[in-house]
């Protein structure tokens, strides 16, 4: 048995223990993922986090119920390719997959229902790697156009398909003006979102810029209060 398999075994073992230890009881041990469900395929859908071994056999790592606009507890994970699966005819069927970031202590995985709601698009972030600290905001631009994002007076351009972590420039009230524009084909900036929102030094906020034919770009955000340390 190779060291790698041993490590996987240990991780799975620890992962299975996690639920019994409470949602935050073992957060500092092993690879783990937290799903940010932006939009679900179905409400309260039971999803299995799983991997395949070298022979292609499914290995279940944990289960979770997903609905739109929710953040899950931490789930144990493994390095490498991981799947979101549903059970069908006594076997698992993948409805989304992602690669656990190498050497990451934990990963945040954003789930976005695909166009026909048959599979998830996934976006994986290693919070330590991108410097996603409390009080900051992670911007993920899934659009084919660049976006110009202003968090108060702090304005940056987020390229197509890119992500960026920014700190909002808060007003004295703790609020800030969140403005998003997308850059159209002629290079013109088209405003598509403008709201006064609350900043919070205790949370990590996530801002997803999603394609939307009608709006040009759709803005979705969720705060993450639970610890990722």
């Amino acid at each position: 048995m190779s060291h790698r398999i041993l490590l996987k075994f240990a991780a799975v073992f620890l992962g299975l223990l996690l639920p019994a230890m409470g949602q935050t009881g073992a957060t500092k041990v092993g690879p783990r993922v937290k799903f940010i469900c932006v939009s679900s395929l179905a409400e309260n859908q039971q999803i299995i986090l799983a991997s395949r071994d070298e022979k292609g056999a499914w290995q279940e790592l944990g289960t979770v119920k997903l609905r739109s606009s929710m953040i899950t507890d931490w789930l144990p994970a493994l390095d490498g390719e991981l799947h979101l699966a549903v059970r069908k005819d006594n076997t698992l069927k993948s409805i989304g997959h992602f690669s656990y970031p190498a050497a990451a202590r934990c990963a945040l995985v954003a789930l976005i229902a695909g166009p026909e709601k048959k599979a998830f698009e996934t976006h994986v972030f290693d919070p330590a790697h991108i410097g996603f600290d409390k009080g900051s905001l992670l911007i993920s631009n899934s659009n084919p156009q660049a976006a110009v994002v202003s968090l108060g007076t702090n304005t940056q351009t987020v390229g197509a398909g890119k992500e960026m972590v920014l700190k909002p420039a808060l007003e004295g009230s703790g609020m800030y003006r969140l403005m998003v524009s997308y850059v159209d084909g002629s290079g013109k900036s088209v405003p598509c979102y403008d709201r006064q929102v609350s900043g919070n030094p205790d949370s990590r906020d996530m801002l997803f810029l999603l394609p939307d034919k009608a709006l040009g770009m759709r803005v979705f955000s969720l705060p993450l209060f639970s610890s990722i340390d």
Partner: protein
């Protein structure tokens, strides 16, 4: 008989008119008995000279016959003239012939409700010789006389433009001859020299505030031959023939022709009420009276019965008798009333000024507000209210454990709907509040992974769980034109919370009436919960009410938040909005309120020490575009035509199904999760504003500034301006005050009704009234009020220019008397400079009759009209595209007053009342034609061309219009395309002038209004959701500029006649042609009746004399000339 056209300011020769009248009477008798074969012409010899004299005599005879025919057919007020192709062609018509119809008169019985079915088309005949055999007229000879050749017409005229008329045979002894005539409708042409010359305007310089509602001149440059021509001072008044125009414009002999089918230099209109058969009355006189005299005077009842006011000779006005007492239900529900019109008319006197910047200013306390007659206007409107519910954990000092609490924050969005700034004075307070939340909270609190609390909790029954309170601060706050301002909660005192500009949620105030049943918790306990929408009533009738956003002010002097501690002072509500009734299984609730709200993330109790927002209730005014899937914050409807004209909303009280409720009130009531984030519709710097108009985001067309109502800065001159009036049938007052309140009006709510005519979604396309039910029905207020106003009233604009109401932008400081004195004596004009003085009596006698000192007498309500003619009055039955283009071009190069008081010239501006503040949120942003929400419409020449063409199409399809109301209103006559819109609106939309409002996703369909009948929406050529928005061109905005100049009949005609002399074999020995311009004037043919008299007035039993009843008002010959054969036969 005068050889030339006198100056319009010169008195007409009265003796001559009497002679003409007597001659007519004699001749008409001859016609009546069919003795057409006799001529009064006597010839002694058969020489050529004698033949020529006989021919001329016959031509004169033909003129007398034509005038007689004209007097008989067009003398009475209730007659309509129209070109042959205005509508379906009656029997025997030819191009350029003038047809006469009976007007659409009001019902004989005043107690009869008016309906579209009353309209019947009765053709009376052609104003052409030998053309009316089908109507019982004498037959022609079969021969045709040419009366207009191409050589009489402009360059480019063709044979198709020539005029031919059948001949009649005449004999006198052995002398044979023929006659023929043709009467041209000059009112159906554009009068290119209309209006006073600059040199004649005397004391009054051109002013945009006046000109926008009554352009001084017709747009002659729309005529190709005249596009480079500018009138020089003095030329207009001496242009008494087309020849003078040719000379002035250096066009050569032909130029615009001696006769032109599209333009004229003769046209003046009598202010006739074709529906009543009388002169119109002066609405300015009525609306400037003390408001108490105008109380409780509706113009119609819900089912279409019009109020035929009892008006005495001295001008006192009372309701018709009998008239039902006020009721708020059924067919007797009072419609739009005179007090509402008065408030809009006098609003200019309430405007205050910061230098050259106008503003409306609130009263300083709510008691004054309740007694403020202008309460409906001196208000901000409520665009949105949002309440945020947050969970918070609080350490209980006595137990050392944590307790969970529900906190509440409020946000209120107040809108300045006006095109002027609005200042909210210090001391005036608004409040908004909510009632019980319709959700049940269920806990799943775990300790060590095991559930320790799964209790349910519902809010106790309470009508006042939060009162957000906006004080008028020091200094008072001011909202810019169209601005939507956000006020959010800050400091609190119990449930009463001060709110301040901007969105700064504080975590709210504690809801002490909601026991969450979650105490004794540890910091590491995890908190999961569910908020389930309730499915049944909890507390009986009162408890069935959901949340409630209102704005209130007390009649008892609430001026600061601490006053709310006084329970008595807290008891009177001026108005309220967004009442959500919640019977069991209410579809509305099911569809708008999220059934289940869960947390985005399960957190520890310790994380809740700072409040975590979990739920938001939204009460938002509808906008055009939904920003779903995050919404819904809009639904497809017509927010600028439906809903209360006074508030953003006025309660969901009438209809029991959710869709009619929404459409009637244009309000969305929704509940959404908040996901632990404070986020509302607040946007912009500091969250001080919110987007509205096109949507709640900028890329949806949203704007911080959306103007929905224009404020007159001078007394209105046009009925079209009343599109901006808050008029929907507000007949109630506050219990303790005199101001009209916003309590329900005759359903359904509608706005911008005056001058517009859209089908109501609550009615079938062919209906104008149906008894309201819980689900549909009600009144087509546009159809009703347009019927009540457009034919019977006009606006003289004679108001006192001194004292209150004078302002830096309105330069006319003359008294009422001075204004009329200038007009009558030729030293100046009225504010509507298109009014001419008609010398019924001498100027001094007129002044004595009409004025008491400097003030217009009440009696002038009746008497003024006989002294006025409308210069360049235009018959809307015209089918001349060129004439319509010239009329529409009356606003060409018009100046408007822009922000700061400067004047700016625009191409073809429509849609303002003369003031066009740049309301862009960016002060550096220039005004743009693409501005949908704040701008006027500055049309291009191409658009004017297209509009003129489209109008002609509508006139040909719908004409003839049998009253002004028939022209303004949609035609519920069974043809879908006529049922949907008024003729002008249909033309505007078909011409593509609102095309940018109908791009993908911006239209509305009848199915959007299901299960309502949906009116005629499916037949609209371009049914925009944002119909009625500032940048959307409505027909009322055309009528604002053109309304005072248009009529549905003509009073000026050119008659061309032919006469010949023949030998015994029928051989023509000589021919002659002549032409006369004839003008109808206010005087009756029989002077025993005063011009202002009519059947039923001044006494109910009054009857006009037989002659006046039959022949109406007098025609006078203004000019006469002999024509040579080149002008007629062309050689």
């Amino acid at each position: 008989m005068k050889p030339t056209n006198p100056s319009p300011l010169d008195p007409a020769p009265r003796g001559f008119a009497l002679i003409v009248t007597l001659s007519l009477m004699m001749l008409l008798t001859v016609i009546a008995v069919g003795l057409l074969s006799l001529s009064a012409v006597s010839l002694r010899t058969s020489s050529q000279g004698q033949a020529a004299a006989a021919a001329r005599a016959n031509a004169r005879l033909a003129l007398m016959m034509a005038i007689g025919e004209l007097q008989k057919e067009m003398g009475p007020d209730s007659r309509i003239s129209a070109p042959h192709d205005a509508g379906s062609t009656p029997t025997g018509g030819q191009p350029r012939w003038t047809a006469v119809y009976d007007a659409w008169k009001r019902p004989a019985d005043p107690a009869t409700a008016e309906t579209p079915a009353d309209r019947t088309l009765k053709f009376r005949g052609w104003l052409v010789s030998g053309a009316n055999q089908a109507m019982g007229g004498p037959p022609g000879t079969g021969e045709i006389a040419k009366l207009v050749s191409t050589k009489s017409l402009p360059v480019g005229a063709t044979a198709a433009d020539e005029i031919l008329a059948p001949m009649h045979a005449v004999t006198s002894g052995n002398q044979r001859g023929s006659i023929a005539w043709w009467t041209a409708d000059e009112g159906a042409k554009a009068k290119i020299n209309a209006g006073a010359d600059a040199s004649a305007t005397g004391a009054v310089a051109s002013n945009p505030l006046f000109d926008a509602q009554s352009p001084p001149h017709v747009g002659h440059k729309a005529i190709k031959a005249l596009e480079a021509f500018d009138w020089k001072p003095g030329q207009r008044s001496i242009a008494i023939t087309n020849g003078v125009v040719n000379l002035a414009a250096d066009l050569g002999n032909r130029g615009v022709g001696n006769l032109n089918h599209d333009i004229t230099v003769h046209s003046a209109g009598v202010l006739s009420d074709v529906r009543a058969g009388s002169l119109r009355r002066d609405l300015t006189n009525l609306l400037t009276r003390p408001i108490a005299e105008l109380e409780s005077k509706p113009l119609y009842l819900a089912d279409g019965r019009m109020n035929r006011f009892q008006i005495t000779e001295n001008g006192a006005v009372e309701n018709a008798s009998p008239w039902p007492a006020f009721t708020s239900t059924g067919a007797d529900y009072w419609g739009i009333n005179l007090e509402e019109l008065h408030l809009f008319h006098q609003l200019y006197r309430e405007v205050e000024w910061d230098g050259s910047v106008p503003k409306l200013v609130s009263k300083s306390n709510s008691n004054e507000m309740a007694n403020d007659r202008f309460f409906l206007y001196r208000n901000l409107t409520l665009d949105g209210v949002q309440f945020m519910y947050s969970l918070q954990s609080v350490l209980n000092g006595s137990t050392g454990k944590y307790d969970m609490r529900m906190m509440i924050d409020g946000m209120c969005a107040l809108k300045n709907p006006y095109d002027v700034a609005f200042e909210n004075q210090k001391g005036l307070a608004y409040s908004f509040y909510t009632r019980r939340l319709l959700y049940k909270l269920t806990w799943d609190i775990k300790r060590g992974g095991s559930t320790i609390n799964s209790q349910n909790s519902i809010q106790e029954n309470n009508f006042n769980t939060f009162t957000g309170y906006i004080e008028g601060l020091n200094p008072a706050f001011t909202l810019q034109p169209g601005e939507l301002a956000v006020f959010g909660s800050s400091t609190g005192s119990g449930y009463n919370v001060n709110v301040r500009r901007g969105f700064v949620p504080s975590g709210g105030v504690r809801m002490t009436n909601w026991d969450l049943k979650a105490t004794g918790l540890e910091a590491d306990d995890t908190v999961d919960f569910r908020l389930n929408r309730e499915t049944g009533p909890l507390y009986g009738a009162n408890g069935s009410w959901g949340y409630y956003a209102s704005r209130r002010a007390s009649t008892q002097g609430i001026t600061k938040i601490s006053d709310l501690d006084n329970a008595a002072a807290n008891s009177k509500f001026m108005y309220s909005v967004g009442l959500l009734e919640r019977p069991p299984a209410n579809a509305f609730v099911d569809q708008m309120l999220a059934p289940l709200i869960e947390p985005p993330e399960v957190l520890k109790v310790s994380a809740f020490t700072t409040p975590k927002p979990v739920l938001i209730t939204n009460n938002l005014r509808n906008v055009e575009q939904d920003s779903a899937p995050s919404g819904p914050d809009a639904f497809p409807s017509r927010p600028y035509l439906s809903g209360s004209p006074y508030m953003g909303d006025n309660g969901l009280s009438k209809f029991s199904t959710w869709k009619p409720d929404r459409i009637a009130n244009q309000t969305l009531i929704t509940v959404e999760p908040m996901n632990y984030q404070y986020r509302t519709i607040a946007a912009g710097a500091g969250g001080a504003n919110a987007y509205h108009g096109g949507g709640r985001q900028k890329n949806l067309g949203g704007s911080f500034n959306v103007i929905t109502r224009r404020v007159p800065l001078a007394a209105p001159l046009s009925l079209g301006a009343f599109e901006n009036a808050i008029a929907a049938g507000h007949n109630r007052r506050f219990g303790g005050g005199t101001a009209l309140s916003g309590t329900p009006v005759p359903p359904p709510y509608a706005t911008k009704v005056i001058g517009n005519s859209y089908s109501s979604p609550f009615l079938a396309a062919g209906e104008v009234y149906r008894t309201p039910t819980d689900t549909d029905g009600g009144t087509d207020h546009s159809w009703m009020i347009n019927n009540a106003l457009w034919d019977s009233w006009f606006l003289s604009g004679i108001v006192d220019g001194t004292g209150l109401g004078s302002n830096p932008l309105q330069t006319d400081s003359r008294t009422q008397r001075a204004q009329f004195n200038d007009l009558a004596k030729g030293t100046g004009t009225l504010r509507n400079s298109r009014f001419l003085f008609h010398p019924h009596r001498s100027p001094d006698d007129a002044l004595d009759e009409l004025f008491d000192g400097d003030t217009l007498k009440y009696a002038a309500l009746n008497n003024l009209t006989k002294y006025l003619l409308v210069d360049g009055a235009f018959n809307v039955n015209s089918t001349s595209q060129a004439a319509w283009k010239a009329l529409l071009s009356s606003v060409r190069d018009q100046e408007l007053i822009v922000n700061g008081g400067a004047k700016q010239k625009f191409d073809y501006p429509y849609g303002t009342l003369g003031y066009a503040a740049n309301t862009s949120s960016d002060p550096l942003k220039p005004w743009t034609k693409k501005d949908d929400w704040t701008g006027l419409r500055d049309l291009s020449e191409l658009e004017i061309d297209a509009l003129a063409s489209a109008i002609v199409v509508e006139v040909k399809a719908r004409g003839p219009f049998l009253s002004m109301a028939d022209f303004v209103n949609r035609r519920p006559d069974g043809r879908p395309e006529h049922q949907a819109l008024g003729a002008l609106q249909a033309a505007i939309d078909k011409a593509g002038l609102n095309a940018r409002f109908t791009t993908t996703g911006r239209t509305v369909t009848a199915s959007d209004f299901s299960p309502l009948p949906g009116g005629g929406i499916s037949a609209e050529p371009a049914p925009a959701r944002s119909a009625g928005a500032a940048g959307h061109l409505t027909q009322a905005r055309l009528l604002t500029a053109l309304g005072p100049q248009i009529a549905v009949r003509s009073d000026t005609f050119i008659i061309r006649t032919y006469g010949d002399a023949r030998d015994s074999s029928g051989k023509i020995l000589a021919r002659a042609w002549c032409e006369a311009v004839v003008q109808r004037v206010p005087e009756y043919v029989d002077p025993s009746d005063r011009p202002e008299a009519h059947d039923g007035w001044p006494q109910p039993a009054n009857k006009l004399s037989t002659a006046n009843s039959r022949f109406g008002r007098r025609f006078e010959i203004e000019s006469f000339r002999w024509l040579d054969s080149k002008e007629t036969v062309g050689s």
